[in-house]
């Protein structure tokens, strides 16, 4: 451990610590706690039973009170550690509690009821992961549908985004035609028109097209991303035109040039756009919230918000489903983080 610390903290040139070094490490370690901490806390909490969630102060690990089935009692009884008058501690099961007195039985000798002051007993706690927080929303609520809807929207929207954006980028980078700069300007201008500015008319168009309460109504308005077109065009501009000429001499049709030459060579940029598109579409909230009013069509985000907005919030389910919702993005983060950060640094994309 100390060796690791020494390795991490070793200063270049072996010079002493400057206050900026101290500040740097405080900032970085504080950053780890602040950036990961909340999500980790949430994920940890998601395995707690409702009773454990209601506890204050909260415990770090998911504890539950241990229970035992005792002969003569239908339900399992909670176990307590009781300090006897002789100083010896015994483990008893609580039958019921009246005021400050608990009626308890020894699981080994269930016949005899012992009365114990509740101050003298402490619950026997054991770690238990409440996996039903995860299974029940899928089995008894609509979360399986939500998950399916979210997957459908994300994958379809990403696929269409990649195809349409790359086709447009190809036209805008490899053809000279009149009005090209006008088209570029038009696309640039739409960067200024975020969804929140055109909610009302967009909603009416979607309705008029019969796409209200349809996942396609969620997908279609999002796929013609100007950022995607720009990113891909920028990348395609670096593909030498001679390659296109060579393909034309090789009797390739324009479609083949797009499909077999330009697209494979644009793969790195396509990958970046695909990752972004997946994250964007998976995370979309406002637009699906407006377009989808039938519960069975909700995406995870909308469904989650709806459940979290109910009067009696069932946090144990909400937390678990938040983890599920977060999971794909965390996977993207773990595996593809480098792609994204270099993609952003390169293009200012988000």
């Amino acid at each position: 451990m100390t060796r690791v610390a020494a390795f991490l903290l070793r200063r270049r040139g072996g010079k002493g610590w400057h206050w900026t070094d101290v500040f740097t490490w405080m900032w970085l370690i504080g950053g780890v706690v602040l950036m990961f901490g909340p999500a980790v806390w949430l994920a940890g909490s998601s395995f707690k039973s409702p009773a454990a969630l209601a506890e204050f102060p909260p415990s770090i690990l998911p504890y539950v009170t241990a229970e035992a089935t005792v002969e003569g009692y239908e339900k399992p009884l909670p176990l307590y550690r009781v300090a006897g008058e002789d100083g010896e501690t015994r483990i008893l099961a609580q039958v019921r509690r009246i005021g400050i007195v608990a009626q308890m039985v020894d699981p080994k000798a269930p016949g005899e009821i012992v009365k114990v002051n509740i101050a003298d007993r402490t619950p026997v706690r054991e770690i238990s992961f409440a996996t039903e927080n995860y299974t029940e929303p899928f089995l008894h609520f609509d979360f399986f549908l939500y998950l399916r809807n979210s997957l459908f929207v994300t994958l379809m929207a990403t696929l269409i985004t990649l195809v349409t954006n790359s086709m447009a980028a190809f036209a805008l980078s490899k053809y000279q035609f009149r009005g090209r700069s006008f088209v570029m300007l038009l696309i640039l201008a739409t960067l200024m028109v975020p969804l929140s500015v055109i909610l009302v008319p967009l909603y009416s168009i979607i309705s008029a097209m019969g796409l209200f309460n349809s996942l396609w109504g969620v997908i279609l308005p999002t796929v013609a991303t100007p950022t995607g077109v720009f990113l891909l065009r920028q990348y395609m501009l670096t593909i030498p035109d001679e390659l296109i000429d060579a393909a034309r001499m090789d009797r390739a049709s324009e479609w083949q040039i797009y499909w077999r030459i330009v697209l494979p060579l644009t793969a790195p940029a396509l990958a970046v756009l695909a990752i972004f598109s997946v994250v964007w579409r998976w995370n979309d909230f406002l637009w699906p919230l407006i377009v989808l009013s039938r519960k069975e069509l909700y995406t995870l985000q909308v469904g989650l918000n709806t459940y979290a907005g109910e009067l009696n919030v069932q946090w144990h389910y909400i937390l678990a489903m938040t983890v599920v919702t977060m999971l794909p993005v965390v996977l993207v983060f773990v595996f593809l983080q480098r792609f994204i950060t270099t993609g952003i640094a390169g293009s200012g994309l988000k």
Partner: protein
């Protein structure tokens, strides 16, 4: 067959004229080199022939048929690009097969052609590599191989050797010459390197500012440059030019005086000779100057720079009248900067150009 005819070709981008009045006939099996300084339109002309660009005027014929409206793919030509333009995501084999697959050739035939080209170009061991894993020379061969397998009516080569280092360029040049001798297919070769042009070409087309200056065999270009531009462009180092005047018409040429009192006859057609008068420009190749012997016509030169190359020595100097002179002398004469030397010239190797730079006479 691979006869290519250009008839009144012109090309303009917007209001900028890039090419004009291009008339050219290329015979089957000929290796024609387009040469000229950068920006002269030689590559554009090649792209017009290829069909990658459309001429604004004129006709392009391949084997007699006008192909102006025929897309590049259907002209039956193959092109080797300056950057090779190999598809980086395909193997060498894939690169060569791509064009053949596009014309739906049977797999077997494709394989056979690739094998034949690979044997010819000695690229067999690399067939499954990607272009990025090859050296410059290997890429060059693959690019040529990709053209060969197409079995084209003509090859178009756009500065194919300019990305290679000097040594490799010499080898590849020789290989290209051998390849042409073997395939006997028409080749049009664009370069700005006159050595390539001189060594490879059956005929050279010299272009300047979008116009053809002269079309002829390499030696004719060297010996009888049609104008000042060609005279200056072909041959290294550049030809020396001196202002001169016509003294008199001779029966078979002109008597010309130049360089403060030098006088020499140059041959010319009687008609031309009779019409010539006044100022002209006289050209002498540096190789045709030598240190003067006793009794030869000579002029004094002050040496400003000596470049000894071993086999020959390039001497830079100025005449008494202030004209710059370049002489290539054989061997290693003992001359140093600042020396005064007397140079003489071969009287039968002079070139004369009129006031417009057009060749008047020469021997």
């Amino acid at each position: 067959m691979g006869r290519i005819t250009l008839d009144g070709i012109a090309k303009a981008y917007g209001s900028v004229d890039v090419l004009g009045d291009i008339d050219l006939k290329i015979d089957d099996g000929e290796l024609v080199v387009f040469v000229g300084p950068s920006g002269c339109g030689k590559s554009t002309l090649l792209r017009l022939i290829a069909g990658l660009d459309k001429p604004t005027a004129g006709e392009i014929r391949i084997d007699g048929a006008v192909v102006n409206r025929v897309p590049a793919a259907d002209r039956g030509l193959a092109m080797v690009f300056q950057s090779y333009a190999l598809y980086p995501h395909m193997s060498v084999r894939g690169n060569m097969a791509f064009g053949l697959e596009n014309s739906h050739m049977p797999r077997k035939e494709i394989e056979a052609r690739i094998a034949e080209a690979a044997r010819m170009l000695e690229i067999g061991p690399y067939l499954d590599r990607r272009p990025g894993q090859l050296s410059g020379g290997q890429r060059q061969r693959v690019a040529i191989g990709r053209a060969i397998v197409r079995n084209p009516t003509a090859f178009l080569l756009d500065e194919p050797l300019s990305n290679l280092d000097a040594e490799l360029r010499v080898t590849m040049r020789a290989e290209l010459a051998a390849l042409h001798a073997r395939l006997k297919t028409t080749m049009i070769y664009v370069t700005h390197d006159q050595v390539e042009a001189m060594t490879l070409a059956d005929r050279i087309v010299v272009l300047r500012a979008g116009r053809i200056e002269q079309v002829d065999t390499p030696l004719n270009l060297f010996n009888k440059p049609a104008n000042l531009f060609v005279a200056g462009f072909i041959g290294a180092p550049n030809m020396n030019f001196f202002p001169g005047t016509v003294d008199a018409a001779l029966p078979d040429g002109l008597s010309v005086s130049f360089l403060d009192g030098q006088s020499a006859p140059v041959k010319a057609d009687p008609g031309v000779a009779a019409a010539a008068s006044g100022a002209l420009t006289l050209g002498i190749r540096p190789q045709h100057l030598h240190l003067a012997q006793e009794g030869e016509p000579q002029f004094p030169v002050t040496v400003t720079l000596v470049e000894a190359l071993g086999a020959e020595t390039v001497v830079h100097g100025v005449t008494g009248g202030g004209a710059r002179v370049l002489a290539v002398l054989p061997g290693q004469p003992e001359i140093a900067k600042g020396d005064a030397v007397a140079l003489s010239y071969k009287r039968d190797l002079l070139h004369a150009f009129d006031g417009d730079g057009i060749r008047l006479a020469g021997n």
